[in-house]
Symmetry: C2
Subunit: 268 residues, 2 copies
């Protein structure tokens, strides 16, 4: 039977609200995800929240019921609450019907099976949580084996990244590591490292990709360091006809990933 | 000679800060853009701010000097100020070196020359300013003739949209109109209307596009209404192999636009 919390001063609410800050997430090993769609995605991927907060008036929704059941079966706690508190938890005026609190799940390079997918996404110093979440979402769509985050990236468990991922955080494995760990791992098996660059004349559509393809996207403002570019098996560029000579990093990653997917599909 | 404002209580600062709200933008016919890169993009596109705010310690930067010159030559006002006030204007802790106040520039359908470009972007009920700005940026990169916004879209002159556009707001014509105005205009001349849809078996890479191609992207959550889809000359889908069956709207638009561009380039 779900318990009820209606007082904003409740210590659990304060603690959960703190998870909007990275420091508290690291201390607790927990993070927030919100929205019925995202939490259902998580449930279907076998990720069940430790705590589930839901609004009283959404309690009859079959997907909410399924979540409550799953949480209670897994030994977590389902908590009925009021829209105001859901707003405080999610930081949005228009609260989602449900907010979940999940254990962070870190993956290591060694846990990845590179033969399990033909496309892998690699992002270095990705700073924008929206971009990171969007790249995860694209990763889900192209069937990527995972997203490997190199260096000082934004936290993939931040509220904004989870939101932008639309649930893909739960379906696409994420690894955080340093370049010095990534490169030896990459070279210990098959894999073509393809870097997106402005300093090449190779058009991304005329290049030929070899599975498993690791698509490397550099920092939003600076691109990737020369030292990383020189380790790539292939550097390609996306043509830009405009004045700005730049694409959003998540967009560029997606345009690349879909070209690779299209080639693999035609040959397959 | 630039004047100096260092007091936050200055009425002009209050008035400019108000432009972060849509209501004030409409009343004044003005909007905010920030950052040296974006303002330089604007200058090169012939858009000069009415007011230019710049930090004292950036005054020697050649691009800031070029902006100050351009503003004063155009009869606008360049105002030296302090980082604190720049933060207040831009709403960011880490202020940009420059903030510009521009006159809104609305375009009408009749002002567009559809033969001037092979790709046109059309978005209906686009709600996220980041998506709108990102689509503008993609539009710049693929050489789109313009972005046509249908129905209740987020304001393209919002601070967030301008920021995400990275200056493309100044280089890509934007028209806001209703579907009932768009459709007769479209049909009054050549143009293939291509809708992105989940309800079709036509793969976007196997379709053949005819210039000028008008790429229609629907609302982020709901896609486009059936009535709009049935007016399309072609409905295509982007394959999705994952669990979520969805792509970010700006990403989907970019994947489509680059496929069209690639086909046109190969045939051209």
């Amino acid at each position: 039977m779900p318990r009820e919390i209606t007082a904003y001063s409740n210590p659990l609410i304060k603690r959960i609200r703190g998870l909007r800050e990275k420091r508290h997430r690291r201390e607790e090993g927990l993070f927030l995800a919100e929205g019925l769609r995202i939490l259902t995605e998580a449930r279907e991927a076998g990720r069940i929240p430790h705590y589930l907060f839901f609004a009283r008036d959404s309690a009859a929704h079959p997907l909410v019921l399924a979540l409550v059941d799953a949480v209670e079966a897994a030994g977590g706690e389902a908590i009925e609450t009021v829209p105001d508190i859901l707003s405080k938890l999610s930081g949005k005026d228009n609260p989602q019907a449900v907010v979940g609190v999940f254990a962070e799940f870190a993956r290591t390079l060694d846990s990845l099976d590179r033969t399990s997918a033909a496309i892998w996404l690699v992002a270095e110093r990705m700073r924008d949580p929206g971009n990171l979440g969007t790249i995860l979402r694209t990763g889900d769509a192209v069937g990527a084996g995972g997203l490997i985050l190199i260096g000082e990236c934004v936290d993939p468990f931040s509220v904004e990244a989870v939101r932008a991922s639309m649930g893909a955080l739960f379906t696409v494995p994420v690894v955080q590591c340093e370049w010095d760990a990534f490169l030896p791992w990459l070279r210990s098996g098959p894999g073509q490292l393809v870097g997106l660059s402005l300093d090449t004349s190779v058009d991304y559509q005329s290049a030929r990709y070899e599975a498993p393809t690791f698509l490397l996207t550099g920092n939003e403002a600076q691109g990737m360091p020369d030292a990383y570019a020189s380790e790539c098996d292939l550097l390609v560029k996306i043509p830009m006809l405009g004045k700005a000579d730049s694409l959003n990093a998540a967009v560029a990653t997606a345009v690349m990933a879909y070209e690779v997917l299209g080639q693999q599909t035609k040959r397959g």
